[in-house]
């Protein structure tokens, strides 16, 4: 287990280095941040001074090296646009994104799994058929369209829910939360639904397919032949085996949720990290973009590592195979 973790940490460091270098290569094609920083009639000399000041005259490799060296010490530099340290900006935005992703993931699981089980157990019911069709829509309609539709229905037409922002948040010092105020909770509903919809339909279809597969397995047939009641058969024997692959996919998708949050945050003006990133792209705010990409790749690696660890716990066969092979 320990060796596994060490390997993972080295992998994570490598992934982040690669992401940072790709990011740096990309930034060269994003244009010149200077034109956003100075007034349109700034002189050539002003421009040259600003370039020098921001270190943009150095070769990309030198800029990259400087970024890595500073980042290793936890310093991601200063945002061009906000005049503030990037790490502060990201720390400020993290709670917004985390709460949104948490609620969306919870929603996707809480609805996706039961619906998947239902459609698997009643494959020919009209409700199941209907759910299947709806889930197809959920998978194929782009999320920003769902988001705008939700705003149109629930904000503009019905006037029930806010169309933008986080509502009133409570500052706990190290974390700002929207969970503690009615307006904060209301503001969470639409973006969370928009973000969850795709994952929910994905989980539902996955659970359904896996469950149908498992229900055809021999051990279920034997259990049935022994006269084990249906409820126990479905929920104790079948469901457990269904959930193992679902867990892996869900773990991978959790990273996807953070990435997809960029779109949701843009549509709902949700002041999270994704929104910060989009604005940085518009402004060519290189330090913010680089730090965000590195941070997200780090989150991806962490989640995947956790999923692998959980997988070991959930599936005894893996443990049995690994133990002698790695001598732990």
């Amino acid at each position: 287990m320990f060796a596994f973790l060490i390997r993972r940490i080295i992998q994570a460091a490598l992934v982040m280095l690669v992401v940072a270098s790709i990011a740096f290569l990309m930034f060269r094609f994003l244009g010149d941040p200077i034109s956003n920083l100075l007034p349109e009639d700034a002189t050539v000399q002003d421009r040259a001074e600003m370039r020098e000041k921001l270190g943009l005259n150095d070769p990309v490799l030198v800029q990259y090296g400087r970024f890595i060296a500073d980042a290793a010490q936890g310093d991601f530099g200063q945002s061009y646009r906000n005049n503030r340290p990037v790490s502060d900006l990201l720390a400020e935005r993290f709670p917004a994104t985390a709460e949104l992703v948490l609620v969306a993931a919870g929603l996707a699981l809480a609805l996706g799994v039961p619906l998947g089980i239902y459609t698997a157990l009643n494959p020919r019911g009209w409700l199941s058929q209907g759910l299947q069709v709806i889930s197809l829509l959920g998978i194929s309609v782009p999320t920003f369209v769902t988001g705008i539709l939700l705003i149109l229905v629930f904000s503009v037409t019905l006037g029930l829910l806010p169309s933008f922002g986080r509502g009133t948040v409570v500052d706990l010092g190290w974390w700002t939360t929207g969970f503690l105020t009615p307006s904060g909770l209301k503001a969470l509903i639409l973006p969370a639904i928009m973000l969850a919809l795709f994952q929910m339909t994905l989980i539902m279809r996955l659970v359904r397919a896996e469950m149908l597969e498992v229900l055809r397995a021999d051990y279920i047939k034997f259990a049935k032949a022994r006269g084990i009641p249906n409820r126990m058969l479905h929920f104790k024997y079948a469901l457990k085996n269904t959930l193992i692959p679902v867990m892996t996919i869900f773990g991978l998708q959790l990273g996807g949720l953070i990435a997809f949050a960029i779109i949701t945050e843009t549509v709902f003006q949700w002041p999270g990290m994704g929104f910060l990133f989009i604005q940085a792209v518009n402004f060519t705010d290189v330090p913010v973009m680089a730090a965000y990409l590195v941070l997200v790749s780090f989150i991806f690696v962490v989640i995947n590592t956790l999923v692998d660890l959980l997988y070991n716990v959930a599936d005894p066969r893996l443990r049995a195979e690994r133990t002698p092979a790695h001598g732990v």
Binding site: F29, T43, S155, L172, T181, Q269, P271
Partner: protein
Amino acid sequence: MTPRKLLFTVTSALALACAGGAQAETFRLGTSGDLYGLDPHSMTDSFTVSFLNHVYEALVRYDADLKIEPALATSWEQIDETTVRYTLREGIKFHDGQDFSAEDVVASVKRAAHEDSPIRGNIAGLIDAKMVDEMTVDLMLDGPNPLLNNFLTNVLIFDSGWLEEHDALDPIDAQKGEEGYTTSNANGTGPFRFESRTPDAQTVLTVNNDWWDEPQHNLTRIELNPINSDATRVAAMLSGELDMIVPSPLQDAKRIEATEGMHVLEAPGLRAIMMGFNLSGTSNNPNQEGNPLQQVEVRQALVHAISYDLLRDKIMRGKSRNLGGLVAPQVPGYDEAVDEIPAYDPEKAKQMLADAGYPEGFSLNMNCPNDRYVNDAAICQALAAMFARVGVKTDLTAETKAIHFERARANETDMFMLGWATLPMLDGYSVLSAMLHTPEGQMGTWNPGGYSNAEVDRLTKAVATELDAEKRMEMMIEAFWIADQEVAWLPLHAQPLSWAARNAVKIPQTADDKPRLWLARIE
């Protein structure tokens, strides 16, 4: 603090805020971008500076008609060619209770003109400030400067004691890597006090009841809500969560007008949209030898090839104002004769091209931004189609602004789009010095095509230092006339401003696209 206790604090704070006045009027403004920070000396973003104008004030300000009027200064006089003396208004207090005096003006001007100051470029020629007595200040210039007051509208005044206390007398240096106190705190003399700010979410101002001026507004609170996405901003307006949005997308104007209790405010703004030419000896189009655009006749032919009315009615939905000159009518330097637009006549254009030696037309590259101006890429597509009709083959590239302006500035194209509002100067000199003067040193910084005319250069230099307003105006118009005859640039239109508001909101729509909420009322 337990969550319950927190909740209680929040709700009681809300209750207090509501109980503040019997007819408490909160103005909820939705904008497409957020403030860059709270320090008006730390960036040149015109939206940020204009919003901070609610908190901070300058010695002089623009009224609703964009004329200079006294603000923190009551009068001024030219002492000699390089010194102007300002008499300050008595009895003004900063939001933290400190008195306003000459010391504050000196500290603020020094801060803005500091060599590390990002806004130094906006106050070219202003070198130093000296205190004469408690209520009098001398501003030192490097030469006669007819635009000093225009510049000063942007030099917002801080309290010197407050700056000193928070170690902020020098401007924020992007290089230091530390956060300036003034980025997240504010203390001005303006009609509203800064209350709180969550970047990209909300900035709140509350009314300053001790403001020196007679308030024309009836607001008690301003909430600035940046909403980046056009669709969401309009939705928030339609659902009644906002009182006004700036800008309101052109394509949604009908929808908003059709909603009860809302209206769209539209007017042509200051920003002139135009096309710049590559006037060097070689074309950037690989299929073209030499550079036909160097000939005046060819450029004149292109003007005849453009149907200005079609651009306005189809692309701009009838909201823009056709421009024949390089500045909008509100800007000093505008002249009706220069503004005249040659008739649309493709046959004549073809004839002129043939006379100039291009009977078969020619090829050129055109570059446009697709995220900077209203319908920018669509305008260029229409232009390309119009040019095709007279035999000019256009290779059009539309791309994001950061790349577009970099290419345009490097003269890597043959025609490029540029919009110029003359802000913050609000004077034709801005166009003369940056776009028409031969590129050298501080001049011609946005003249990548290399337009050069000795007479225009001479007039521009004279305009820079001429203090007689009438003479100055004549010289500006003469320079614009020459540029117009030679088609130095190809002006298209004044870009429309579009705001949307509830009917209860009364606000003057100023041509510089800056909502001045101290002139707004909610009825």
